[in-house]
Amino acid sequence: MIQFYQVNKSYGEGHEVFHAIDLHIDRGEFVFLTGKSGSGKTTLMKMIFCQERPNTGQIVIDGRNVARMTRTNIAFLRRTIGVVFQDFKLINSLNVFENIAITLKVLGLPKTDIQQKVTRTLSRVGLERFSKAFPLELSGGEQQRVAIARALVNDPKILLADEPTGNLDPSLSIEILELFQNIHIRGTTILMATHEKSLVERANVRELHIDAGRIVDVEKI
């Protein structure tokens, strides 16, 4: 599903984030991404949904080489990828419902479908009552759950979650993890970046660790 071949990535001159990494994530896998702050977790995700390009090397997503995609095709690719951004990226002038609905509006779904899907997803993340609220009226954790809902609402093939539990207390974190596991069971490929060791241990799935520009599989006993 996600393949990196000898990918180098650096920002500007000399600041190398990744050095010749190879990465293979199969369809339907659930993978944790760990590494200390600044190691490149967000950068890796940005390369997957084409917000950043690698300096050299090839990236193949769902069988397609992203280097050869047009802007329009990149847009189509992104519709199959749900992203929970580390900084949420909510539109402050839209309410919670509308923020989640844009993913579906971009697809041109009928109004009734949008209504139904958004409402269902809101209840999955426990935010039914905030449907009409605006992002700035919500707590950090609530905003984070809106971001999660927006990524999930479209049943994406790939879910990229960049520290989706960073602002949540442990019990909510576990709820979100269970939500992701449910989605995973239905066949979605999930890549989730996190700092929380406890979550990684609890989930007991494949863990990729970024260290000094390299990416390694953490051996599990």
């Binding site: 917000q51 802007r71 990149i74 189509f76 993913t103 509006k105 697809l107 041109g108």
Partner: protein, 300 residues
């Protein structure tokens, strides 16, 4: 297609979020088109006056020998059936004499002393207003001179062709004015749209990240610009009309003796044309800045 519609609707519904920016855009277009409209109407007015003066211009074709009825109508059919001929009449020697005496009655005795009627036979041709092809006119005049039996063609000399040149110059000025203002509006609108995009930068970025195609980003912005053009130019027309009514009123009360005809407002055709041009120019201006924005964020 439906996705485009959603984004368009939401972008229009949310125009109230930054009304100042939208009003500013519309008003700048209004001012530009008000200026352009006044300029055009002024030019048009001058041109009309010039044309009317040209209308007073006659061409006299003097003939050696009197013509019978048949020959007269032959001449008229052959040489006067032109779009720039307003009136064409045969003036016999007798009639010329009568006309002359009508103007100068005290010359009667001197004329009688001559015995023979000294007046030549002629065709008097009055030119039409809508005459703008100088070469065609010149050809026609030359042709008249070459006709057998024509002794002289009096066309007022250089006067007529210079007149036409003046009108052509005014026409050219009109185009120059239009182009200059067109460029101005192009710059203004493209700048306004750039500002608008800048204020919505985060939102546009997010839309792109959830899979909006470039055309979904572009279409609402272009329509927005089209709306600027439409409202701006229609507002300009309203102001122009008010100004026109006031001016007409002022002139008819104060200078009625000086100007025989009242000013005219733009024709409906011209008004529609102005609005369409405003929309087109606004959309092109917006296109420039949208493309520049999209290209600058090759992948966003």
């Amino acid at each position: 297609m439906k996705a485009h519609l959603y984004l368009i609707i939401s972008s229009f519904r949310r125009m109230q979020e930054n009304p100042r920016q939208h009003f500013l855009a519309i008003f700048t277009i209004t001012i530009c088109f008000f200026l352009v409209g006044s300029g055009l109407m002024g030019f048009y007015q001058i041109k009309r006056s010039l044309n009317q003066m040209k209308h007073l211009q006659w061409v006299y074709v003097y003939i050696d020998t009197p013509l019978d009825q048949h020959q007269q109508s032959n001449f008229i059919n052959q040489h006067c059936a032109k779009k720039w001929v307003d009136l064409c009449r045969y003036v016999s020697a007798e009639k010329a004499k009568k006309l002359f005496l009508g103007q100068y009655p005290d010359m009667k005795s001197s004329l009688q002393a001559l015995g023979e009627n000294p007046f030549p036979v002629s065709f008097e041709i009055r030119l039409a207003e809508n005459l703008d092809d100088r070469d065609q006119l010149q050809d026609w005049l030359n042709q008249l001179k070459k006709i057998n039996g024509v002794s002289e063609v009096d066309d007022g000399g250089q006067w007529l062709s210079q007149w036409i040149d003046l009108i052509l110059f005014l026409d050219a000025m009109t185009y120059v004015l239009m182009i200059l203002v067109g460029i101005m509006i192009l710059g203004l609108v493209s700048n306004t749209i750039r500002l608008l995009m800048f204020s919505k930068k985060d939102e546009i970025g997010i839309l792109q990240l959830v899979g909006a195609t470039p055309s979904m980003i572009r279409t609402p912005l272009l329509l927005n610009a089209a709306l600027y053009g439409l409202l701006g130019s229609m507002l300009a027309l309203v102001f122009l009309y008010i100004g026109y009514l006031r001016l007409n009123h002022y002139i008819s009360t104060n200078f009625s003796a000086l100007l025989s005809h009242s000013f005219m407002f733009m024709s409906v055709f011209d008004q529609v044309l102005l609005v369409l041009i405003a929309i087109a120019v606004s959309v092109v201006g917006a296109w420039f800045s949208v493309e520049r924005y999209l290209a600058s964020k090759d992948i966003s």
